[in-house]
């Protein structure tokens, strides 16, 4: 297929018709450049959006309790509903397939002291799987694990800012901190995308706190992350089911709004995903719009080029060029220019995006970038469009009788 002679003929034609080449090349390069920039900025907006809304796990459900407001089954209102360890087993038995993780939680506001430095923090007694709920990431050491739970160990994982507050530049790992009058060993330091607040939490094994504070089996809150395979609607349904089952178990009226409260993040999730969807459609629109503009541009230029070359093509035909070789010549020239200038537009576009980087963060554009697959796809679309746009006039030109092409002067 590779015909050096034919390529040489095409290069000569390209070289000797600079205006034509620059004109069509510029159109393509500009279309791809615009496409890359707009798409990249759109993606930047999306990135900002995702970061703002994806602080904690988006898939979480929290269960809290309060006092009943309605009498039910002979029980009076005003009764305090208390979650207990057996609710943990109950929830796992009932909903194991719909849950990714579940953890009980007890919160205590305590003063932490280390060598004269002291501050108030929220201590959270949880299971290891609670890490998923917070999207916390261990920076050094480890998070609490099941062995800690079993041993009811007095260990803590502290937020990055707790370490900074109490230890300054030093490492807290392995040190003992006094929390509410009792000493805990630091086993890990974590960071949290949720920001400063979330990085001032201290996590300790759930069982430890149950033992240290009254040796109870009481639970304040359950935090659940649901199976990511659930759709938003299924997740909402899942939350409703939990509420229904727990109300049955604790003899709470189905109409009681206060006694058992389910906080289902799927609710907000739904709105976020609708907004993301809209944003995606807008980006897609921008992309398709730019591409169409580029396609129209290259089509016009191809029509013009073939028109301009009608006479030349007539001469070539009189000298023995077959229609096929005429079409081939025009197409290869157009494809070559389209591909090359498309690639240039792509390089410039992604170069500009890279240079912009995070400098537009205050305009809600974070890390603007485009998948190379998307750009290559766009370039291919333009090449195909250029081919079709060139093919039709080329075919017509190849059909024109040489006498017609040569007649005018």
């Amino acid at each position: 297929m590779f015909d050096l002679d034919r390529w040489r003929e095409i290069f000569e034609s390209i070289k000797n018709n600079k205006l034509r080449t620059i004109l069509s090349g510029f159109t393509i390069a500009f279309a791809i450049l615009l496409f890359t920039l707009l798409f990249g900025i759109g993606n930047g907006l999306k990135n900002t959006f995702e970061r703002e809304f994806a602080k904690d796990s988006m898939l979480s459900i929290y269960i809290r309790t309060g006092k009943t407001t309605k009498p039910y089954k002979g029980l009076q209102s005003g009764r305090k509903i208390q979650l207990k360890n057996d609710d943990y087993k109950f929830l796992i038995d009932e909903f194991d397939d719909k849950m990714q993780s579940i953890s009980p939680r007890i919160r205590k506001n305590l003063t932490a002291i280390y060598k004269g430095e002291q501050n108030n923090y929220e201590l959270r007694a949880v299971y290891p799987s609670y890490q998923i709920l917070e999207s916390a990431e261990v920076e050094s050491g480890r998070f609490i694990n099941m062995l800690d739970i079993k041993k009811k160990a007095k260990v803590i994982a502290i937020g990055r800012l707790v370490e900074k507050d109490l230890f300054g530049q030093l490492s807290a790992l392995g040190k003992e901190i006094n929390l509410g009058g009792m000493s805990y060993k630091v086993i890990g330091i974590f960071s949290d995308p949720g920001g400063d607040n979330d990085e001032r939490y201290i996590y300790t094994p759930f069982t430890t706190i149950q033992r240290l504070y009254g040796n109870t089996d009481e639970v304040e809150t359950f935090g659940i992350t649901y199976n990511p395979k659930l759709s938003v609607d299924e997740a909402l349904e899942f939350g409703d089911q939990i509420e229904k089952k727990l109300k049955e178990k604790h003899n709470v009226s189905p109409k009681d709004q206060r006694a058992i409260r389910i906080n289902n993040y799927a609710d907000g999730n739904k709105q976020v995903s609708i907004m993301m969807f809209v944003l995606n459609i807008i980006i897609l629109f921008i992309g398709i719009g730019t591409l169409i503009a580029g396609i129209i541009g290259i089509s016009n230029i191809m029509v013009y080029i073939v028109k301009e070359r009608t006479k030349e093509l007539g001469i070539r035909k009189a000298l023995g060029a077959t229609p096929k070789s005429i079409i081939g010549m025009i197409l290869m020239e157009s494809i070559f220019i389209t591909a090359l200038s498309g690639y240039m537009g792509l390089l410039i576009g992604s170069g500009v995006l890279k240079a912009l980087g995070d400098s537009l963060e205050k305009y809600f554009i974070l890390n603007p970038s485009v998948d190379s697959g998307v750009i290559i796809g766009a370039t291919i679309v333009l090449i195909i469009a250029g081919t079709i746009a060139g093919y039709l006039p080329a075919k017509r030109a190849a059909r024109i009788k040489p006498i017609v092409a040569l007649r005018d002067e």
Partner: protein, 234 residues
């Protein structure tokens, strides 16, 4: 070489048909130097286009080099043109962005001859028309006479059977006209069949045989004084 019998051609003009060629019979043997005379509208250009396989006749028969020309598709016509015919046009029809040498070499490209060989042959033919030194010049750097010489070299380069010249001197002054005709004569002397279309008597007089067309029919077919001395008509 060229044998035409009862050739008819008409063009659609609006809803009507313009009957341009009304039964042409013409036989041109190999090595002849023939001119077709006629005023504009007599059908001479149409005849040349049909002979040159640039257009298709409606009725009658046409044999080129013994091969019957009928129902030609574009591809076959292109190949036959490349193989048998060389064209010289009134307006030269050189490709403006190619040098003289590249213009001359173009028919060889379509013949599938390699680049090096192409340029060698083309340079030879440019030398033949006296323009070897102008090989690297673009058409717009050449005079009218020079352009036509380049065009003639291009017509000859693929070694055709017939050279067809459509008003080859129409755009030239009398001095250059003479030199171009001289060149065509030389070519003919080397055995090439040359077929010239003109409306100038002086040009026609320099050929061996004058065929005069009027309103689509041949009204005369004469051997010139010059022609009487050649072997074809003795």
């Amino acid at each position: 070489m060229i044998k035409i019998k009862k050739l008819h051609k008409s063009y659609p003009v609006g809803k009507d048909f313009l009957h341009v060629l009304k039964g042409i019979d013409l036989h041109i043997k190999e090595g002849e130097f023939v001119s077709i005379m006629g005023s504009s509208g007599s059908g001479k250009s149409t005849l040349l286009n049909i002979v040159g396989l640039l257009d298709i006749h409606d009725e009658g028969s046409y044999y080129l080099n013994g091969q019957k020309i009928e129902s030609l598709d574009e591809k076959k016509a292109a190949i036959l043109r490349n193989k048998f015919l060389g064209f010289v046009f009134q307006s030269f029809n050189l490709i403006s962005y190619k040098t003289a040498l590249e213009n001359v070499a173009l028919p060889l490209y379509y013949k599938g001859i390699g680049r090096k060989e192409r340029q060698e042959i083309a340079l030879n033919y440019l030398d033949k028309v006296g323009l070897k030194d102008w090989a690297k010049h673009l058409p717009n750097e050449l005079s009218g006479g020079q352009k036509q010489r380049v065009a003639i070299a291009r017509a000859l380069v693929a070694n055709p059977k017939v050279v067809l010249a459509d008003e080859p001197t129409g755009a030239l002054d009398s001095t250059t006209t003479d030199s171009v005709m001289e060149l065509l004569k030389d070519i003919n002397d080397e055995g090439m069949t040359v077929f010239v279309i003109t409306h100038e008597q002086e040009v026609a007089d320099q050929t061996d045989r004058i065929v005069t067309l009027k309103d689509g029919v041949i009204i005369s077919d004469e051997i010139t004084e010059k022609g009487k001395k050649t072997k074809h008509y003795v």
